[in-house]
Subunit: 416 residues, 2 copies
């Protein structure tokens, strides 16, 4: 049996242990939901306060230049680029994940205008499918969103497919798709790829350029810890930037926004994907959140992520062996490409919803996804091995005491 002493020894050896001090974490909480909303980095309140009181407060309108607000979408894009294997000028931090997906999907469809199929999988996060439906419907040119099962994606790529639109890490199962292999298959059929990195960016090293990916989007509020509804990002491979055009042609994507031409003319490079004045408060929060990553070795991050997830699986299987849990996440993680598992572990259980609520009552925050999936995110930045041990002890108690079997834990709230 793995003991708490064993876990304490692992914590002592953990080269990333100090990073935990960079986060606000409530007393008595074991937070296993950083894959929904990362916790607040301690540097964020001061950075945002400085922006409000000193930059906005004292510099007023001149902050757009004096404090570099106008350049933040691209400057922060270059910082996110390091985490996702993109080059300088390939990433911008703007708008929301869904809206960025719309822009890049539109760009891809125009680059492959003779093809009509957007290929995705049924297990994709629904908002991505909805945005694709919205775009196809409105284009009115006979586009089709073709959905297949996750395992059939590569086989389903053919010469009808304009763009393969996938979320790299499945939000329910944590399974990671092989970006390089699928992108290669897409390119061999003349199709483009668009990757949603929502559960990838900051969870492990992504390598968009090595995979030869065409387009990508992602959010900052999960593993990047920039706060609820924080600004999203988008990636356009340099080779597509001159031709990638999209319909949300706002003034900050104009080649010369302050000329106030009446005719839109797209800016060069990634800038044409910017639309509106950026929300500066969200951008400076992300800035402070990315400072944490400046000290993180992404190889170390992956080693620890795998170790935490492996430990959780082993402990659940040891301590809750006969409680009806089925591992949904791939057992193998992968250390280098191709990765197989993200930084989460999901178990299915028929009473999953109530069990998750009983755990939350005890301060172990995970979440539940229909129909029966208990989802636990393991973020090496602020979780240790004893946290994993303690979480499983709580789970064992919840199961052995039948604590989940209470009416209070069975009322379904709108958001978990």
């Amino acid at each position: 049996m793995i003991s708490r002493t064993d876990c304490a020894a692992m914590d002592r050896e953990d080269p990333m242990a100090a990073t935990r001090n960079r986060f606000i974490l409530p007393e008595g909480v074991i937070y296993l939901d950083g894959n929904s909303l990362g916790p607040a980095p301690k540097a964020v309140p001061a950075r945002v306060a400085r922006m409000i009181e000193r930059e906005w407060g004292q510099n007023l309108i001149t902050g757009w230049l004096a404090d570099g607000w106008m350049e933040k979408p691209l400057a922060l894009g270059d910082r996110v680029a390091r985490l996702i294997g993109a080059g300088p000028g390939e990433v911008a931090v703007v708008d929301t994940t869904s809206i960025n997906l719309f822009k890049l999907l539109a760009s891809a469809l125009r680059l492959r205008s003779e093809r009509k199929v957007i290929l995705s999988n049924r297990e994709n996060f629904p908002t991505d499918l909805y945005m694709a439906q919205g775009l196809s419907d409105w284009l009115g040119q006979g586009h089709e969103l073709r959905l297949v099962a996750e395992d059939e994606i590569a086989a389903a790529i053919n010469e009808d497919v304009a763009v393969v639109m996938l979320t790299q890490t499945n939000f329910k199962t944590g399974r990671v798709l092989d970006m390089a292999r699928i992108t290669k298959a897409a390119h061999e059929s003349g199709a483009l790829t668009l990757w949603d990195l929502a559960h990838s960016a900051g969870a492990f090293r992504v390598d968009l350029d090595a995979a030869n990916a065409d387009f990508a989007v992602g959010c900052s509020y999960k593993y990047l810890n920039a706060g609820p509804g924080g600004p999203a990002f988008l990636f356009v491979a340099e080779r597509h930037q001159a031709e990638a055009e999209q319909p949300l042609t706002g003034w900050l994507g104009h080649a010369a926004p302050f000329d106030f031409d009446i005719q839109f003319r797209p800016a060069e490079g990634i800038r044409r994907q910017v639309c509106s004045s950026p929300g500066v408060m969200g951008l400076v929060a992300l800035e402070a959140a990315l400072d944490v990553f400046d000290e993180v070795d992404l190889d170390q991050l992956r080693v620890k992520s795998n170790a935490l997830c492996d430990l959780f699986i082993a402990l659940v299987e040891e301590r809750c062996a006969d409680q009806g849990f089925t591992l949904v996440t791939p057992r193998e993680a992968g250390l280098v490409e191709p990765l197989i598992r993200g930084s989460q572990v999901s178990f299915a259980h028929p009473e999953g919803y109530a069990i998750v609520q009983a755990l939350i009552k005890r301060g172990v925050i995970g979440d539940f996804r229909d129909p029966d999936i208990m989802r636990f995110g393991f973020t090496p930045l602020y979780l240790g091995y004893r946290d994993v041990f303690d979480a499983v002890m709580h789970l064992q108690d919840v199961m052995e005491n039948g604590e989940w079997d209470s009416p209070a834990f069975k009322i379904r709230a709108a958001v978990t």
Copy 2:
């Protein structure tokens, strides 16, 4: 001649004088650019800090329900509604002005699918025209953005026109279009109207429902003082809500977002115009900024706005009579509908750019818009009559000393 003593007397009689204390205003600055970026309300730093440290910091993911984050787009929409003459459930605070314009323009075009013309004016803020161009181009159904001169709008409305898309208050001249009259003309021809309230909301009482307006958008970072790139809003008249559909169909516009259906099905009411997870930091900043308006009488606001603008015009014409300034803003303001002038005054001058820079050097912040327009915003919430007097004295000095005629003031920066 109007004296500083006269202005001091007006300040003493000003029923809104105390509102100034609710804003952070730097020492030695007279801020006449609240029409570009409103100053920071003093309550914002504490409200945002509470959201970061207490809500996000302590409640983590549960903040979406526990702290009401999820409901803020509609709850804040109802608060903005009071300022723009809309009813409950007609306004949502989401995304950016440009993106909201895209959504509602798309909604309008679908409601009038047999018509192909978007009618606007050449003087409209360019990003609105760019978004219309982007949408028309991408729909590929022969839509046309037809641009006429501001004075020709009503006459140009005919049965080809699907939607009349206008900014109520001209960003350069401050002229206010007659919303009720133009909307009536549009409806008589079977067209819809879409109003951009960027320079209207918070500047004076807007009355969308009384004007029978169909759609509107606006921003929160000008007269609403919610900070740089703060969240935007949109309005859909209740009668159109069931049929208004738009292409940015993100998960939070779904009838049941947490069912994770693979097929989009729009929510009822204004909610279907919401797309993505909202940026909570920006929303709580707006919340604190709107608290200021809770104590503002909109009739008083208009009276003072007119008085400040009238005073500025009178003083410039008195003190700088032979300096080559030409009033661009309408001289008449209007106190009740139809309003003629917004809450700004613009003068044209061939050396306008350098003059504005010389004023900024002296702490009088206005802005410049090509080709020759000096633009000054007068916001009754934090400006007094002596501020107006002092600003004109600075202008007089700048002109009489030839201070503007310096190479340092002639280098054009990208943003002013």
